[in-house]
């Protein structure tokens, strides 16, 4: 899938992955690839600015943790992020249902 067409959905995708449990940047990117069977192969450099922006917007929070001697920034959803994820999911279902009914 083209990176350009993914950009509009990047926030929802990140929120969904982080919603499954706290994780660090690299794990988020890998999870996106894995869950989509490799279809969602984003330019990796675009995910970090989005993570920082979502945190500035109060949808994510993050903290450093030590993992096998390495310092890692771990992201998790805030309460507001959980609500936003619910809204995005609902919007996506409505949108995809509508598009599906036209294209099918």
């Amino acid at each position: 899938m083209r990176a350009e067409s993914l950009k509009g959905h990047l926030d929802a995708l990140i929120l969904a992955v982080v919603g499954a449990g706290p994780c660090h940047g690299y794990a988020i990117i890998e999870e996106l690839k894995q869950r989509s069977g490799g279809s969602l192969d984003l330019p990796e450099g675009t995910v970090y600015p989005a993570l920082h922006r979502l945190e500035e917007g109060g949808l994510l929070r993050s903290s450093w943790s030590k993992d096998s001697g390495r310092r890692r920034r771990i992201y998790e959803l805030t309460r507001r992020g959980q609500r936003e994820l619910g809204v995005r999911r609902s919007e996506w279902r409505d949108f995809s249902r509508a598009v599906e009914s036209v294209l099918a």
């Binding site: 940047g25 690299y26 330019p43 990796e44 450099g45 970090y48 600015p49 989005a50 922006r53 500035e56």
Partner: protein, 288 residues
């Protein structure tokens, strides 16, 4: 030079420094340790993406934070205004000294500027609330609106305190105390929003594009005859202010006084539009 060093340099170039820069480079370093062959993109582009996205988020936050502080200060100012005995605002005894007169005028004019600028900052931030990146010109405009709003709000609080102090001999002690408390709490709320404004000021988005004007904010709610015509819009607003003040004067059994205040306020509105309008993105030199 490593990718981390290049990114560090490019982040500095776009205005991302200190802890934020260290955090980004540490995260990227961790990513490269997980996958040394990862394609993160050119450091210059990654740094710019950070600036655009963070600059957008911070400008939006400044719009929200500025308005939230102004709303609280506005309520406190309103409490002092509504509870003021007689005509404490706008008409003061002749014996009052010049600081009292200045305070009186500031307490009348500054809240109107604060309300208009803060509301406009909020409107633009709300309109752009789902956008990842907005133009640098637009982030600057949101910031200008929020900053003018907050500083006009602070001036209002100072004006209120000056007025209360000068009117101490003429008004009950409880009101003077109340006005001081309202001015103090309001000023603290407004000052508390300034770190958010400064953070946004330090990191602007770099994206190209225009800032737009007033009609990008309120155009959808205006009749066609006003859309894209800032001066006609300003005249209608000034006229509405005149009518409202006159009606308020009639209801208070002092129609002529209301009409005089209405004319003065309407003219002030036009003056504000002429002097601050371009700075706050209400009109462009080519409009009308």
């Amino acid at each position: 030079m490593s990718y981390r060093d290049d990114l560090h340099r490019e982040l500095t170039a776009v205005g991302i420094t200190g802890r934020q820069r260290s955090r980004i480079t540490d995260e990227i370093e961790d990513h490269l340790q997980c996958d040394p062959k990862a394609d993160l993109g050119a450091p210059q582009l990654v740094a710019r993406q950070f600036a655009d996205e963070l600059g957008t988020a911070r400008a939006r936050r400044a719009g929200f934070a500025g308005f939230a502080a102004l709303a609280l200060a506005g309520v406190l100012f309103g409490v002092a205004f509504v509870t003021a005995p007689g005509h404490a605002f706008g008409s003061i005894p002749g014996a009052v000294s010049w600081p009292g007169r200045v305070g009186n005028w500031v307490a009348v004019i500054a809240p109107q500027i604060a309300f208009a600028a803060g509301l406009l900052a909020l409107l633009r931030a709300l309109r752009r609330r789902t956008q990842r990146v907005i133009a640098a010109a637009e982030t600057r405009m949101i910031l200008r609106r929020a900053t003018v709003g907050v500083f006009a709000g602070l001036a209002s609080m100072i004006g209120l305190a000056l007025l209360a102090e000068e009117l101490r001999p003429y008004l009950p002690g409880w009101w003077v105390t109340l006005a001081w408390v309202c001015a103090g709490v309001g000023a603290v709320a407004l000052l508390a929003s300034t770190p958010v404004l400064l953070a946004a000021q330090r990191l602007p988005s770099l994206a190209e594009g225009s800032a737009g004007d007033l009609f990008d904010d309120v155009g959808a709610w205006l009749p066609r005859s006003l859309d894209g015509r800032p001066w006609r819009f300003a005249l209608v607003v000034a006229g509405a202010i005149f009518v409202l003040m006159t009606v308020a004067g009639v209801l208070a059994s002092d129609g002529p006084d209301g009409a005089v205040r209405g004319i003065a306020d309407g003219l002030l509105c036009l003056l504000g539009f002429a002097t601050l309008g371009r700075y706050l993105g209400l009109w462009s030199p080519l409009a009308d």
